[in-house]
Structure formats: C-alpha cells, structure tokens
Symmetry: C2
Subunit: 415 residues, 2 copies
Amino acid sequence: MTAVESVGEFRFECGESVENLRLAYETYGEFDGDNAVLVCHALTGSQHVSNAPSSADDTEGDLGDAVETAGQARAWWNDVVGPGKAVDTTEYYVVCVNVPGSCYGSSGPPTERPDGEPWGTDFPPVTVGDWTRAQRRLLDRLGVGRLHAVVGGSVGGMNAVDWAKRFPDDVRRVAAVATAPRLDTQCLSLDAIARRAITTDPDWNGGDYYGDDRPTPDDGLAQARRIGHVMYLSKASMGRKFGRRAAGRGAFGDAPADPTGRFFPYREVESYLDYNADSFTGRFDANSYLYLTRAMDEYDLAADYGSDTEALAAFEGELLALSFTGDWHFTVEQSRLLADAARDGDVPTAHHVVDSDHGHDAFLVEPESVGPPLRDYLADGVAGRAVRDENDDDPSGGRSSSPDRAPVHASLFPG
Amino acid sequence: MTAVESVGEFRFECGESVENLRLAYETYGEFDGDNAVLVCHALTGSQHVSNAPSSADDTEGDLGDAVETAGQARAWWNDVVGPGKAVDTTEYYVVCVNVPGSCYGSSGPPTERPDGEPWGTDFPPVTVGDWTRAQRRLLDRLGVGRLHAVVGGSVGGMNAVDWAKRFPDDVRRVAAVATAPRLDTQCLSLDAIARRAITTDPDWNGGDYYGDDRPTPDDGLAQARRIGHVMYLSKASMGRKFGRRAAGRGAFGDAPADPTGRFFPYREVESYLDYNADSFTGRFDANSYLYLTRAMDEYDLAADYGSDTEALAAFEGELLALSFTGDWHFTVEQSRLLADAARDGDVPTAHHVVDSDHGHDAFLVEPESVGPPLRDYLADGVAGRAVRDENDDDPSGGRSSSPDRAPVHASLFPG
C-alpha cells in the first residue's frame, strides 16, 4: 500500500515552488541502517514496484498517511523486486517514490493547490534533478542516509545516474538500466509529437480539464501512448508478435478509423496499440504526460559540468550500465557513452549488454536477463559473478568503443 | 505543365468504380517507340518530377487537357530526371502520373463526383495495383506499349515492382529504389497512428470538410506529417542536423505547445518538423493522405501468388533494387528480400546498396549516389558499369543472405 509524506516547501529547478510537496511512496523489507535500495520508476510507472507486502503499511503517526491510490500502475517490476527475487526484499529495504509531476499520489498537475483547485499547468515544470532532490528529502524523513544502491530503468535510469552526480557520496552502487546520458534527437522528436497530440486535442483545453463533468483529452493521450509503444518495441519484436495479421474476432477495437477500412483490414498491431492506449487513458493524466516526457527530454547528465565524465567525477560508488541490443529508444551506444564517461572518471564500471530483440521493453519483460546481473551487482558490485562487461570477452576491443581500456572488473579483481 | 486525361470507367480492386477516371500526368522528352520510362512518385509526390520542359505541353486535341495544378509538389526528382541527368530526358520519353487517390489533379477524394460534389470518403479505396492498372490505361492512350523502364522510390518502388508482377511482358527494366515487397509491422503502426491523428481531428468531420467556409483538419494532417518526417530521416541524420539545440531567433514557430515550454526550450528539430508540417497542410489533402498511406500499407508483392518469387516468375525483364544502409522505413534487408525473390525466379537482378546515413530520404537527397547506377542500369541493365550487386565484392556471401548465389551480372556477363 502506498504511503504519502509531506516534505515541506520545495523549490523546483525552474525557480517555481510549491508550499508543501507531497510524495507517494512504497517501501518493502526492513531497514537495517545499511541496506536501502532506491528503485526509480520509468515514465508512466508508479511507486508500486512489487506485489510484495509494503512495509510502509506499518508506518504510524505523521510519517506517511497510508492511502489507496486509485488507478495506479500495476506492480511494474514484480518479477525483479520481491522476496527471493533479484532485488530481494528479505535482504534489502526497498523504497520507490512516485516522482513529482506524476499522477499516482505525489504532487503534480492533477493534485490540489493550497486553494483547493487542481494545479493543472500551473504546476512547476519538473526535472529529473527535482526528482532526485525530492527522493533525498523523503529518504531523510525515513532515516535513510547513504543508500546501498539506486536502481532505475529508462528515465528512471537517468534518475539513478543523477544520484551519482548530485549526491556522489550517498550511493554505493548505481544500476542504470536501458538508459542514456541524454535522449537522442529522434526520440526528442517523437516525444514532441506525442505532446503535440495532447495539446491539439480540443479537450485538453490549455490543460484545464479537471472536474467530473468535463471531458479529458483521451484522444490526444491515446495517440501519445501509441507513439510511446512503438518506441518501446523493436522492429523485430513487432514483426514477430503481430506481423501483418488482421485482428481476429473479439479483438479490442473492431475497425480502423479511416474510411478505407471498409475494404482493408484492422490489424492485430493496431488493436494492440488501441488496447494499450485505451487502458492508459484510464490510468494516466494528460498533463502529467506532458510534464514527465519533458523531464526526460531535458535530462542531460553533462549539464552544469563540462562533460559526462566531469559530472560523475566525484561519485564514490560503482556503476552498472545495462543495455539491450534491440533497444532503439535507449541504445547500447548510449549506455556505452555513459559507461565510458564513468570509467574516464575512475568509477568502477561495467557495461553489461544483453542480446535481445525485445526493444526498450526488454528491461521489463526479460527478468531472466536483468535479474542475475542485478542481483550479483547489488551483492558484489561490478565484480559480481553474473555481471559482464562488454570488454571482457575481447580485451582488444572487438565489441567496445574503448579498445584501449582493460576490462574494469577484471583489472580491479584479478583472477 | 500537367496534362489531365480521362481514361473512362475504372473499376478499383475493392470492387467500387468511378465513371470516368481522370489522370494528371507529365511527360518529358520525345517518344521514339522504344524509349518510354515511367517514373512512379512516392506517397505525397506528384507527376511533377522534373523542371525540364514537359512535352505534355504540346498535347493537342482531346488527349490531355493542359492544366496548372495549384499547389502541386515541387519537382521532386529534378536532380535525377532531366536533360543530361541520370534519367536523361533527351534520350528517354519520361512519363509520370499522379496516382488515383492523390490530390494533384487525378481523381481522388478532393475531386468532383459526377454530381458535382466532392468525393470525400466515398472515393473508392485505392491500391498500388490500381495505380499500375491506371498507368497502363494512360500509357495506352499515349501510344506506349512496352516500357523501356519503370523507376520508382518508396511506395513508388512498390508501384514499379508491381509492374513486373502485373504486366510482366511490358517492362524491360524495373528500378525499385528504397522499397520493399511489403511494409513491416513497425511502419504499419506508425502509418496507422498517423491516420488516427487525422481521423481524431474534429475538423476532419468524417472526411467531409470541403468547401471554402469550412475548416480543414490541419492539426491532424500536420501530426501525420511530423510522424512521416521522423520515418524519412535516420537517427544519425537527425542527430547530425539538429542535435539537441534550441531553435534560434527567427526559427519557424516560436514556442513548444506544452506548458513546460515556459521553462524548457523549443528545439530546432521541433521547428523543422513544424515548418514541414505547416507547409504540407497547404499542399496536401487529408483524405488523400489516408488513402495513399493505406495503399502503401496494404501492398504485398506476394498477394494472389504463393510467394514473392512466384509473383515475379513471369517477369521478362531485369530488376535493380537500390537500397540505403541508414533507411529504417524501407530497409536494406527488405530490398534484399525483393532481390533474392527475383533471382529465385531467374530474373537478372542486382541489389545495389548505398552506404548512407540519410535515412529513407537518401533516394531524394543523394542524387550523386542514385544517379550513376540508375543511369547505367537504364542503358545496360544489371550489367551497367556503375551498378553494383551486394554479392559482387564477396561471392562467398559475406554481405548477402544468399551465400550460395553467384553474382548475377558477373554470371550473365562473364569477364
């Protein structure tokens, strides 16, 4: 169950403030003073990372009002986080916080201002750095100083890396899964198109659509989600799953919206996108989608520093970058940039590349690929048994852009 | 200048008919009985392929009403087609026909029904096969029997290949540029999303928006075009052209539409997409966009045959498949499928792969890559000097999926 904690006045990077930032979060397992693992959720994820019993349920007094957050995303990493799983909640105290700007209980556009009206687009624009600072604030309230690890995927991976930049003494191990130091131009474009789908929906109404009697910009948000789903899958995985097949009887949706549908088929892949878009509009807020995609787009590890390496130079911990060959949203090359930058800053680093054609979704749907390296990394850092570095197999550099670098964990832990 | 020819009653593949199909076309050069080259335009292209003087201007009598077609696309392959160019209009009689369903003068949704009202979505759904049959009809009127060549890029390449399938005795040389036997699932999805952008625009109004006093679905069509542009570029070319730069003063557009734009930048790449989307809505019809993307999506070379090879088995001519390494809309792998299928049907074939990071747009923006092989192919077929086959360099098959096949033009023309 989700708890919600008020962490007081919060000034966002943009300069705007809220009087009392509220953060929805879940915790799993028992804190022993040295075993806290912060898990950072992806764009439309929530604090509900696992179906394991949340220890926040036990919270009493003014620290955390236990609430049911209606419509929140399903436990999004239940295969990876829980008792006996890779992020083992019998061993670690796992904390996951809904990021400011989102819509699963933390302050954001759909929540109330002090005057009782919804914030809407008056909510301050948020950055990944704001998320990190808000998480730090919550962890202070929970009595967590140094984190054993921060783990996150996609923009949650940017959030995890941001911890190493912003609080370099506070994290022992950062696991950055399917992420990048910054988004590339192609994905920036698709995100901008997705936002435009929302803002050109007349029901968006300048962001002012809250209230039971008012239509929500479902068409626009659905379009944004369809675009997102194409980004999350790969050419190969889409071909394998759907091919060019017509949707069968009983498929979600029943016809293409365009007039040529009187002769041409409604396809399985369109039905899949429509189904996911429809369920998404039921669980996510359109303004939050604008805010969170913008936070992702704007993240740049090197910002305020000369380079990614300088941004990570003060980091005292280790870094695991985990990437997937079929991911075109956050590519292997981008993870390599991140790993190389960290190594150049003398951060013990492994870049573990998973051969997969699942696309970006791989980090969610391949627990068998993600779990073992993550488990061993949490236990033993980059020396973990299942942790591979792409330079390991071929120290001459066959798979790496850094042929002159010896494999990191081999050099740190010879033999 | 464009001429328009009525070719009589036309029954579309869907079973619906129009009483009198009108086809807008241009011709360049003089027909000598054996030198006709049909050029097939891409999705939103037109009959206006070159700025060379159009010989259709000389057309007299009832064959071709010379017209100015307002707003038609610029000469889209002027660097490739014209006097002294790769498709040399002093040597060949070049014909380019606006496809049925389009909006540059041929019958389509924005044109008039016999009752004087616009067709709108009552226009019959069109297929690439309909385009081929309509072109055959026009060529009959022009007195062209067998074509020296059919050349086309993108869905125009599907159109070119369809000639080999549908009229296998009528074409000596097919040049299929940046195309595929059928679209893949990822691109089908993006096209479906683009159509949804149009049909969810309230101004689309079920396709009934014609008339000076009525709004056109510009927001939806602009979104469709933005999505298209991302498909036409590559990750690398987008990164190189725009990076993550903010748009400068004087850029087209001035602000992102989303509320976080009060803190975050409007980017060059968004300005580029907005500029192109805006100019597109001024020159293209939203219903036509629905019809033509559907024709592209539905094309399947193997349809009505057991396989691509069987579809091409009766073809008496040669095939050049020309593809670009950075093209993710119509990939090198898809061109290879096409080439392999033709070879399996004993069609003399070359698959010429251009190393390029321009994406799908390469066939339009790299005349220096496209021109020489195309020129030599028109002159000498797959034996043409500048025509490479991907198997040439390494007959053992290093670059090919067909390692057991000898290079075709080497085997046909030893030495």
